[in-house]
């Protein structure tokens, strides 16, 4: 597992400078108009999308085939991708938090009080949760369809969880359950647990898909 994580971190490390440049540009483009909060989400989701890039690197070097002759099981290989996703989401949300904090202060978009800082921290956690959910969806899809279809799969991996959320919202509306701010807040507080459960389900699906594959 450690080997797989190191490999992905080394591989993606080469793209860090360009990613940081993009995030800085986006900070100037988004924070003045959309506020610091949206920037946290953009950073986290962009970083979580790098998981698909790691698959592209693996494809390019035929790594998966090689990994399977090392003392690494198929489950470990799949698990490694989820650990990397968690790391990417964490890095993205941290960069987003720092960037939005600094950018928000400079551009006077946030107030430096406990409530303002608490709000940013809470949104950072929510952004991490959302990107973990989206990223987790992309992993089984890439295992199934390959990294060359990454762009389409990224779109699908965002649409499916969004579709499920809309579906649940519609069902709740039909049952007469009204989503108040308090309900939404409670749901967001529970979301890390939901995200972990979702990631685990996606891990099991990925294992199932990968187990059947020839590499």
């Amino acid at each position: 597992m450690k080997s797989l994580i190191l490999k992905d971190l080394f591989n993606i490390g080469h793209n860090v400078k360009s990613m940081m440049f993009i995030l800085v540009v986006l900070a100037f483009a988004f924070i003045p108009f959309s506020g610091a909060e949206g920037y946290i989400f953009i950073c986290t989701i962009l970083c979580s999308m790098m998981i698909v890039t790691t698959f592209a690197f693996d494809d390019h070097s035929k790594w998966t085939r090689y990994a399977m002759i090392m003392p690494i099981s198929k489950k470990e290989l799949v698990g490694g991708k989820f650990v990397i996703l968690v790391i990417f989401c964490a890095i993205g949300s941290l960069v987003g938090l720092i960037g939005s904090f600094i950018g928000g202060l400079i551009m006077k978009k946030i107030v430096l009080d406990p409530a303002g800082v608490g709000r940013l921290l809470f949104l950072t956690l929510v952004a991490w949760v959302f990107s973990l959910i989206f990223g987790s969806m992309s992993i089984p899809l890439v295992f199934k369809f390959g990294a060359e279809k990454a762009r389409v799969l990224l779109l699908v991996s965002f649409l499916i969880p969004a579709g499920i959320c809309c579906g649940i919202y519609q069902i709740l509306s039909m049952l007469g359950i009204v989503m108040t701010d308090r309900t939404v807040f409670i749901l967001l507080c529970c979301s890390p647990v939901l995200a972990v459960i979702w990631a685990y389900v996606m891990y099991r699906i990925s294992c199932h898909v990968f187990e059947k594959q020839e590499v």
């Binding site: 450690k2 190191l6 490999k7 090689y66 003392p71 099981s73």
Partner: protein, 286 residues
Amino acid sequence: MDAILDVQNLTKHYKDFTLDHVSFSIPQGTIMGLIGENGAGKSTTINAIFDLIHKDEGIVTFWGQELSSSKQLKEDIGVVFDGINFYETLTPVKVGKIAGAAYQQWDRQLFQDYLRRFRLPLDKEIKSLSKGMKMKLCIAVALSHKPKLLIMDEATSGLDPVMRDDILDVFLDFVQDENHSILMSSHITTDLEKIADFITFIHQGKVLFCKTKDELRYKYGIIHCGTAMFDQIDKDDILAFRKDDYQWNILVSDKDSARRKYKNAVVDSASIDDILLLYVKGEQGK
């Protein structure tokens, strides 16, 4: 001798190709060459040996155990494919760290010794290394976790003769330890003539023969003759034959016997290349 790798009836069906009941075994302390034309089934065999593809039939055991039964087995097997399997922006040092984290038996000092011996730059990205250097890096990785069996799939293809000779020396060093063995797939038969003890010939998905190299070199022969002589040759003696512009070339399994039997014919020794060519491009005897 105990078999390090035993392959029995390995079968894999594809739409347009079948690996058909391939069997061979590698005794301890030997080098086995796997030869055959492109598309003969050498890589499919190696992929099936490692369960990289689902085999339809057959059993593969390493030291008597199936690969899926023990993760430890993979510690004792070093593999080199025909290209490097690390991303091009990595450096040899980073490759060492990745492989070192995967193998419990990884010897960091040994890896650095190999890097020095192969004159590989520590911090140069893989993409800027020559093909020979990339291959040497793969070999350094494969040997640095102290395997007992080295499996290579076309590892020397595309390398110049000097580089190939360097690499063959490394393999000969490796088998100095009598517990070590090598399975080497290649269509460069001269490399195998230099180092192999056994040759397994795969043609159109089937094993045509698995023999010692010495038997092929010292017993096999090629009869060169005209059509009249060809008609007189006992068809039971013919393994394969092919007609050139002016003569027939006939592969026989016992050149001394052929010399005694067909006194008017020219009988030469057969190189592995000759044998491969006659089987692949010629017609097989009865």
